[in-house]
């Protein structure tokens, strides 16, 4: 008998009484005790379709209401900044004589300043500049930081030691002081150069203004260290992961290992860090503009508009509040979206 052979021993003693009773009450189907077919077994198990990492992350992100609302707000602000001015005939520098110092009205929803410039258009333009500066600065950080971090992490050993020593040194330098120094120092020198030189480079850079150039230099010198550390950490950790060892054991070449295993797992961090770097950069730029070392005329950003409005802060309150409010909402939405992105891309639910 089959059962006996498998279980290896002989007859079973009597059953317990209540089990008998229970069994007696059961109605068995005709073929209940025939072996089940393989297809029946398969139907038994409901298998769910497995999602790829990105699909899973996108699904999680969509569920996050706060992040989705923030995304919508960011998109709206992008439209406001880049598409908005197209609806107006005048631009942010046009001065309409006779229309100075008008309070918000239908014609001028944000009012005008003391030179008769439409503040709504100026605010749109200021948002545009703030965004561009934020994104550009973040890109600088991204490129320098991830390259530095990846090299340091990948090679390890002494190379890593030396590179990280430098990072620690830079970390210790108070950044804002250096930015202030840079712009103070560069302003006269650069202004001279812009006025005297004829080259196209000088022309292009002069639009930015010396302070803004100083900000970008500062970003390139100082602010990439955070990103470098994160990427280095990721690479170091990923190098030791068992799936990397497994891949190598299966015969994968180094480049394949990097492309298919290390890099995709870094991209999540890169995206999140860059995404959170943008509001930080905007935050910093507004702070500096407020102090007068940010963008310079004729360019304007939300921070410098706020700075300009300080003088008439009690009488023309809206001139300060409007750019300040838009700035805050912009930074907040970017932060919330970045947070949501990070939650979605990190499979370990770390709320």
């Amino acid at each position: 008998m089959r059962i006996q052979k498998v279980f290896g021993f002989f007859p079973f003693p009597t059953w317990q009484m209540d089990v008998d009773a229970v069994l007696g009450q059961r109605d068995y189907k005709e073929d209940d005790f025939n072996l089940a077919e393989a297809c029946e077994k398969e139907n038994f198990i409901e298998t769910k379709a497995s999602l790829s990492y990105w699909q899973d992350a996108w699904r999680r992100l969509k569920k996050n209401k706060v992040a989705m609302v923030s995304l919508v707000i960011v998109i709206l602000l992008l439209l406001f900044a880049f598409v908005g001015p197209l609806f107006f005939e005048h631009d942010y520098t046009t001065q309409v004589r006779g229309d100075e110092n008008i309070d918000p009205s239908w014609q001028y929803p944000f009012g005008t300043d003391n030179l008769g410039r439409d503040l709504l258009v100026r605010t749109m333009f200021g948002t545009r500049i703030s965004l561009i500066v934020g994104i550009a600065a973040s890109l600088i950080v991204l490129v320098i930081g991830s390259t530095y971090g990846a090299i340091s992490g990948y090679f390890g050993g002494r190379v890593d030691d030396v590179m990280m020593r430098l990072v620690e040194l830079i970390y210790a330098i108070p950044d804002i002081l250096v930015v202030l120094l840079l712009s103070t120092a560069l302003k006269p020198a650069l202004t001279d150069w812009f006025n005297t030189s004829d080259s196209a480079l000088a022309g292009a850079l002069s639009i930015l203004g010396p302070s803004l150039i100083a900000i970008f230099i500062a970003f390139g010198l100082l602010y990439w260290v955070g990103m470098a550390r994160i990427i280095r950490g990721q690479v170091l950790m990923l190098k030791e992961q068992e799936y990397v060892t497994a891949a190598k054991a299966l015969g994968a070449s180094s480049s394949r290992v990097i492309k298919r295993h290390l890099l995709p797992n870094c991209i999540g961090q890169i995206i999140v860090t860059t995404c959170l770097q943008i509001p930080a950069a905007i935050f910093l730029e507004s702070f500096l503009s407020f102090l007068g070392v940010g963008v310079s005329a004729p360019l304007t950003s939300l921070g410098s508009m706020a700075s300009d409005a300080i003088g008439g802060m009690y009488t023309y309150t809206y001139r300060l509040m409007n750019p300040a409010a838009i700035l805050s909402v912009l930074i907040l939405s970017l932060n919330l979206f970045g947070d949501g992105l990070r939650d979605a891309l990190d499979p370990r639910l770390k709320k």
Partner: protein, 339 residues
């Protein structure tokens, strides 16, 4: 403890059900298990990851955290209903009547306090003793678990101990209040094999000395054979077979138990004997299907196995198994091989 105690029931778990209410649905981690433990007895709970063995232990200790909840059944310890205890009573209960030690000794101790501090804390939160008395007791326990230079070790931090040593400290901490029962949740899984053997020896020694009851949770049948008196085999949140150690090893009555035994590498194996793994993947606990959870992976699976859950059938004194193969009708079918 005299032999009379050995026949008295210390722990009675009846039809315990535990579920986790997650955002994606109710995960029925434990679907109705029952077992008894006598004073001084060592019960092994065997199962793969996700079988629910740790969850039911946490329920006994009251360490279940949301979204987990006990949704049915009862736990009786020393005559008292554990599930009905208040928070304050549970805090008294834990570490005092029942202790628990965990799997990963590397992370189980608070890194910012000395182990002396943590041992003394274990005593003083249950017994009103002076610091000096507590310290003496702590040193005594460290000696018991085989740590040299206990006085010096008391003022050291966890990161200054190796994995095996930390597990010994954990055992010392578990025993320091003389509990009646110890729950060991895979205490040797994270350790090297040689250290594993040492820890098991230590636990056997201590068990003999103190006659403490132990619930030993593991997926390693070898360890079970070493230290346990009785064994419960769990699969997908249910106990599929239960009996003495001899019953389980020499007279297994459930295809899953048999599969586990067959898949173990043996020292006395023939040269080219292949290990026979259990086919298939573990059950999705979110939507457990009707019928026997082991069905799809079982080579003897019958149509009824996929329809109705098998009852627990008494095979011998103290030996039960939940399998349709053991039912009269199934044996009749086998007696008349017509297919």
């Amino acid at each position: 403890m005299d032999n009379n105690m050995r026949d008295k029931k210390l722990l009675e778990v009846k039809d315990l059900r535990v579920s986790f209410f997650t955002p994606v649905g109710e995960v029925k981690a434990v679907g109705g298990i029952s077992y008894d433990l006598n004073y001084g007895e060592v019960m092994g709970i065997v199962g793969e990851s996700g079988s629910g063995k740790s969850v039911e232990a946490y329920s006994i200790m009251g360490l279940l955290q949301s979204p987990g909840k006990v949704v049915g059944g009862s736990i009786t310890f020393d005559g008292e209903d554990v599930l009905a205890k208040t928070a304050k009573e549970m805090q008294d209960f834990r570490g005092n009547s029942v202790s628990m030690i965990f799997q990963n000794p590397m992370t189980c101790l608070n890194p910012v306090y000395t182990i002396g501090n943590q041992l003394i804390e274990a005593v003083r939160c249950h017994k009103k003793v002076s610091k000096a008395e507590a310290r003496a007791k702590a040193i005594e326990m460290l000696e018991l678990v085989g740590i040299n230079n206990p006085e010096r070790r008391m003022s050291q931090y966890p990161h200054e101990f190796s994995g095996g040593m930390r597990q010994r400290v954990m055992i010392a901490m578990g025993l320091i209040c003389d509990p009646k029962m110890l729950i060991a949740d895979e205490p040797t899984t994270a350790l090297d094999v040689t250290i594993q053997a040492q820890i098991i020896e230590l636990m056997k020694d201590i068990q003999k000395k103190t006659q403490m009851a132990i619930v030993f949770i593991t997926h390693n049948l070898g360890v079970v054979a070493e230290i346990c008196d009785r064994v419960s085999v769990m699969y997908a949140g249910k106990i599929v077979e239960q009996g003495s150690v001899e019953d389980i090893f020499y007279r297994p009555q459930h295809p899953y138990t048999l599969g586990l035994l067959r898949s173990m590498p043996r020292v006395d194996a023939e040269e080219y004997e292949r290990l026979i793994p259990i086919e298939g993947t573990p059950v999705d606990m979110l939507n457990p299907p009707a019928g026997c959870p082991f069905g799809p992976r079982c080579e003897h699976c019958m149509k009824i196995c996929l329809r109705v859950e098998p009852p627990s059938i008494n095979v011998a004194e103290g030996h039960t198994s939940a399998c349709w193969l053991l039912v009269d009708e199934a044996k009749k079918k086998e007696a008349t091989p017509n297919e």
